[in-house]
Symmetry: C2
Subunit: 207 residues, 2 copies
Amino acid sequence: MTTGTRRRLAPEVRRRQVLDAAIAVFSEEGLHGASMDAIAARAGVSKPSVYAHGGTKDELFAACLAREADRLMSSMTAAVLPDGSSGEDGAQQRLRRALRAFFRAVTTHRQGWTVLYRQASTGEFAGPVDAARRSIVIRAAELLAAELGGSVEAAEPIAHTLVGAAEGLADWWLGGDHAPGEQEPADLLADMLMAVVWPGLDALRRV
Amino acid sequence: MTTGTRRRLAPEVRRRQVLDAAIAVFSEEGLHGASMDAIAARAGVSKPSVYAHGGTKDELFAACLAREADRLMSSMTAAVLPDGSSGEDGAQQRLRRALRAFFRAVTTHRQGWTVLYRQASTGEFAGPVDAARRSIVIRAAELLAAELGGSVEAAEPIAHTLVGAAEGLADWWLGGDHAPGEQEPADLLADMLMAVVWPGLDALRRV
DNA sequence: CAACCTATCTACTCCTGCGTAAAGTAGCGA
DNA sequence: TCGCTACTTTACGCAGGAGTAGATAGGTTG
């Protein structure tokens, strides 16, 4: 790994490198299992450089969480907001689009998802992370309440169920290695989840 | 914490005390956050005693996982196996009973569940834990395949979805504090989950 | 081409916390 | 009453890893 020549890069570029390496290592080893030395090695950089660009280990971890949470949130937000097809598109369409965006983001940046979902659920970083999660759940609850009737509070447990189901399915998909199918996997996963939950949600509407 | 009188107890009893204390501390602090001193203090016992009865920190943690996983597994197994009402009871009934058992176990032993679900999902203990989880998923998949038709492999993603949904709902319930309602909360949660997913599962049967 | 700024590296310090050793004390059976 | 031994207190060895100080060298500007 000794390139022999040590290169000076723009701080922004180095910071990006360090963040990427940190996410990779954190996703494999967890917050405590990862050492700053390992992150430095992965980034192809010395440890003081990691401190210079990423700060303390905790700050670095927080930065990873922030970046990945932001990425995920903005993907889903972008998918739901613009009503692409003009005219009325019901809750079913919007829900499916949100799920597709979720699965696409998760399958595309699996390391980031792993850090958010498995490594940050506990400890002092639980707060920020499930703030983001909660934000997703609230959106889902609002969508459900608007379309199925009832208050947002009443829809909250259902939204948690839905989000949990999506996480479970994503986790399964990321766990095994799957042969590349003919269709985009994310869309397939979204359709599968919709097939399971939508009839039930639809039935709740006409109670 | 000095009781003044120090009591001699049977090794089995002491071991139980240590395990209970360990689960309590691990559930609050996580594997790395918990110190052996803290566990000793919680158990009302000196640190060497913890080592005498619980072994190494890792061994102790593994023992906690084993006990709680076993508790959960046997609860659910017991709930599904004996067909209480004679005669045919369909997949819907068995599924509901399994879910009730799950939610009952989780709400009853929340510390144990926390250790399994949040603290052990990463690191070197991921293996044993999601072996147990996988076992539950397989059972669910078998049940679904038997009743809805199709192979077990095809039912696997659906089973993961189902288990994820249950975990999400349980996590939500354990997160907030809820006023004691008129009905057993576990049964309420199971009914809620069934309402969401069963119509979809039922629809899959007649494809 | 020389001076200089600063990104980067090598090589430390220091602290936390696991795990254990040694010596003393007190419950409980004989 | 005597001892066996589970248990406690206290102190320490040791490893791993976070964070830093000082040296080094890439690039840049006059």
